[in-house]
Amino acid sequence: MSREWIQKSLLICIVMTITILSGVQFYRHRHFQLPIVAGPGVTKVTMLSDYCQSLKGTPADTRVFFMEGAEEGGKTLIIANTHSNEPAAILAALIFIENAMVDRGSLIVIPQFNNSGSRNTKPGDGYVLFFDIPTEWGSKRFRMGNRNAAPLDQWPDPDVYVHYPDKKLFSFLDARNTNRTWPGRENGLLMEKVTFAAMELMRTEGVDVAIDIHGAETMFPVTNCIVAPKKAMRIATITSMIVNAREGFENHVEPSPKSFRGLSHREIGDFSETMPFLLEAPLPFLDQPTGPKTEALLLDGKDPFLLSLSKQKKLFVPYDSTGWSMEKRVGQHCSVILELMNQFSRRNRERSIIVSQVPKYAEIIERGVGFYYKDPDKADRERIYYN
């Protein structure tokens, strides 16, 4: 056996070991099922493909939770994990699904909007594959996904993504970004089918308010804010003023730009009667100049490099050694959603939506996010849905 042959065999073995070890991890991540316990307010659970047949049976199909009140009223749609690497969204959505009681109108929640993205990762950035939220009964494990859908599910990527219907040109990556493919089309790319199905849901169900939950870098100007088009601007503005004065956190308002197409806050408003809002909470994990992308950074948002940049006034949000915790982000989202519904209801009495049992900012910071999740081991099997 020559020396060269031994070297080549050894190299092949090393490569195969690394490939198998990482492949097993990626496989487990992609096939991990998140148990969601339908709370007492959930009246039915359907699939998004019920609104777009061409989505049925694809890896992009996802669950839709309905909470219908005894009294007729307006309807709110909450969309979470449009970008699955912004997980405060799904954590807030699950608080609503597992706790909310709807007295009037309806609440519809899609907790994992880009289902394919939630089974994707960003190895180049060293993303963690999972994160755990401590609860009173142990910890609840979540998949940490990526911004875009997995190329395994939507292949091949185009050279350039041509937005439908405006023909604006985007990066090829945005073909897999469900916040660039609105309003979508029935027979387009898989992600266009996802957004088309959501548009159909809003049009057929008569949704009044749509809230798309996100997270953004502290170094990005459109962070810690509510983005709204002109028709939703007044409600966004009064909501921002009220949470600032009564709940003590800042959440300014950004206008939705008319010429930037494909975004939920733009296209939902332009292609339906629904009033859209997009919520951004600061997410230090997404900033580029940080230390390793660890689970701790994701959960507490503490980073020495961002702290240094904050002292140089390079960030768009106040930032100190306490970081920007998951509790703060989820708390902001819950409070802003509740206030948006409240303000919509005050202006549209006949379409009002009354929701209770959802904690606000201060309560979530005090008790932690996990306090509001039910133990799947103790829940009725028929009330558990895997996503």
Binding site: T237, M241, H252
Partner: protein, 217 residues
């Protein structure tokens, strides 16, 4: 030493209370009809309009009114919204019919390059427009209220767009309102003191609602 420190602290706290009390004055009384507009085209005009709505004060709004539109009074001479130009006529027309002269104007101060760009304006155009508006209002006894609700994000270094906009409006106002975060360096209270302009400071933008209710009864 301890006694000296606590005495020193008491003097400082007392001094702060006195200076705060002297900076803030009783809000003046204003009359309707009122026009709201922006000085700098920031989104703070939305905050101002929502504040008026919450206070139950109906208004006419235009993002870039000219002197001729103000001269035309309520209804702004029949102007309608178009590209980069927004008008809302919400004044109670049974009380103040179209053409009734405005008695007051509220300017939301805050410079936004994006906002000015959308209206096809440069900072120089906007300063010129705002100055001509203020000149007309002063000459015609239309009382001017300057509102700064944007906090620190709508402040800047000396000579920045935000500071130039403050200089163009605040010293000529008949009443200044600023949120606490906007006046951390005492910019507005100093202008008010020097120019003898009534001044109110609101902890949050939502608190401006009460001030507007007070001045318009």
């Amino acid at each position: 030493m301890k006694k000296f420190s606590s005495l020193f602290l008491t003097i400082i706290i007392f001094g702060l209370i006195v200076s705060l009390a002297s900076a803030q004055t009783e809000p003046p009384k204003m009359q309707l009809p009122v026009l709201t507009t922006s000085a700098g085209q920031s989104a703070d005009i939305n905050t101002l309009n929502v504040v008026l709505e919450q206070a139950g004060v109906m208004y006419d709004y235009c993002d870039v009114p000219t002197v001729d539109m103000v001269k035309a009074g309520v209804g702004l001479g029949g102007q309608e919204s178009g590209s980069g130009f927004h008008v809302e006529i919400l004044t109670e027309l049974d009380k103040y019919p179209k053409g009734t002269a405005f008695k007051s104007i509220i300017l939301a101060i805050g410079a936004s390059l994006k906002g000015m760009g959308a209206s096809g304006l440069t900072i120089e155009d906007e300063l010129k427009r705002v100055s001509s508006l203020i000149k007309y209002c002063t000459e015609n006894k239309i009382l001017i209220i300057a509102v700064h609700a944007g906090g620190e994000s709508k402040r800047g270094a000396d000579g920045s767009n935000n500071e130039r906009m403050i200089d163009a409006v605040a010293p000529y106002a008949d009443y200044i309102i600023a949120v606490k975060d906007s006046n951390k360096d005492g910019r507005f209270s100093k202008i008010a003191e020097e120019k003898k302009i009534p001044y109110s400071e609101a902890t949050y933008a939502l608190d401006i609602v009460t001030l507007i209710e007070q001045i318009y009864n």
